[in-house]
Amino acid sequence: MNKEIERKYAVKYLPKDLKVEKVEEIEQAYLYEDVNTNIRIRKIQIKEAIHYIYTVKTKGDTRN
């Protein structure tokens, strides 16, 4: 099980030296969700390769 820790921001502008490492075309939808858990399916295309992924996400420790 992986722990996903992230922060999300708006984009103000693009820096001049921005280096593109990877481009992914993503299609996704949710199959289930409640307060603590969600199930998502995702199709990811990177160049010619396509992957299909099933993901279960649950909330971490929220006592802090």
Binding site: K3, I5, E6, R7, Y9, P15, I26, Y30, T58
Partner: protein, 135 residues
């Protein structure tokens, strides 16, 4: 730092991922309970071996643009000093990934100002140019 239910600031979740077949994916897709979200993700490296995932959204979220940074630890997430080109934090509940997956175009436009959408439009044009050049 407020986190957990409010989903503001650092979001921390456990996730289990499995690869599935195209056929299974397509069957499951008929059972979706949200909109289908379509986006282009551009991964760019930043400081301290971190990566930013810039997402350009389409369909009823047309014009939406986000930048997600993933961290190896909560400590690092809390101490993160964002590069200047990243704007305000938008991980809070109103625009969480789950909420976005249920919005129609009208609801989305009531949450995001036209000013932001116009600004995004210019940035998205540049990103599309960068994508073209990267192939």
């Amino acid at each position: 730092m407020i986190r957990g239910i409010s989903n503001y600031g650092v979001s921390s979740k456990y996730e289990i991922e499995s690869n599935i077949t195209k056929e299974y994916y397509e069957t499951l897709l008929t059972r979706k309970i949200s909109n289908k979200i379509i986006k282009t993700r551009i991964v760019v490296p930043i400081q301290n071996k971190l990566k930013v995932e810039i997402d350009i959204y389409y369909d009823c979220l047309q014009g939406f643009l986000t930048a997600e940074v993933e961290f190896p630890s909560e400590e690092e997430a809390n101490q993160f000093e964002k590069p200047d080109w990243l704007g305000e934090e938008i991980g809070y509940q109103e625009l969480s990934n789950r909420k976005l997956a249920h919005m129609d175009e009208k609801q989305f436009k009531s949450k995001v100002s036209q000013e932001i959408l116009n600004q995004n439009k210019r940035i998205i044009e540049k990103l599309n140019q960068l994508i073209k050049n990267s192939y």
